[in-house]
Symmetry: C2
Subunit: 199 residues, 2 copies
Amino acid sequence: MKAPIDFYFDFASPYAYFLADALDELARRHGRVVHWRPLMLWAVLKEHGMAPPLEHAVKRAYMLQDMDRSARHYGKAFRLPTSFPLSSHLPARVFYHLQAQDGALALRFARQVFSAYFTQEANIADATAIQDIGASCGVAREVIAAGLADGSAKETLRQVIAEAQARGVFGSPFVFIDGEAYFGADRLPQIEAALARAD
Amino acid sequence: MKAPIDFYFDFASPYAYFLADALDELARRHGRVVHWRPLMLWAVLKEHGMAPPLEHAVKRAYMLQDMDRSARHYGKAFRLPTSFPLSSHLPARVFYHLQAQDGALALRFARQVFSAYFTQEANIADATAIQDIGASCGVAREVIAAGLADGSAKETLRQVIAEAQARGVFGSPFVFIDGEAYFGADRLPQIEAALARAD
């Protein structure tokens, strides 16, 4: 039984969205499971004393262009959301709430969050928008509301953030395979090579 | 006649070393010329108020591992130099001094600087080491000494740094093709796609 792949990411990270499906597909081909670990990147960076990726104007200007180009490169529909960047604590909480009951459902919800945020202008910092996304996965609005208020999901999220800090995560997406770290959607070819070597 | 490719880089940047030959080869295949533009990344970042890439311990730890892995990925011999990081103003000055006389010689010197620094432990912040590198390209030690003291080469370097800042460079390697920016050796597949589209 091969070790699972740990996938730390922020729901508001375009590069995480670009990587997610490709990572799942690679894992499937190489007999691995991907553990999705949503977190708020700003919380991890704050602990490390690091600036958010879009803080510097010159880097921001580059990234806005690079995001569009990278979306085409990875074959993903993409429109930079009007509400960008934002804090992704709401979908992260709901994810851990759903995961405690049904892992497959939590993953469907997560994929729908990415798609709604990056292709349909959903404001994922808004509770009603999260309920709409839940509804499109067949989750009742009151289940989502319970997730948003779930202290245990909040605690899981806090633990994931602490764990990510301890493991040296400083960006999104940040992937661990057999103890080795890979930062960025652009590490996909190196991830593929690592999985093939370990087969 | 297609527009040249501008290649801004720091001689002390492993990722610039990983990209350089592949970029030249791609350019050749697509009928383009690469303009090598060495600079000191620290000088560019200082102007932008940005931190050097290795300032944060957590990022440094990741990059040290990523450099070794990326060297294998790009098929490049690589050993992290004992003298790393360092200021690369000496080889940059000599490059612009040689370029004013013989562009092809300047390129041979530049490739030799990368190779000596990243595979042979040459300390490229040391004038004697730069003279040794020059000698291995058939350049007399007094020509290198003249380059190190050349006020005009120093002025060219200052201008390249100012030009890079104005164009939004904030890392190494940083490539411009037909007005579009590509940051990092990992943008090689996107560079290749852009060159193919423009053919």
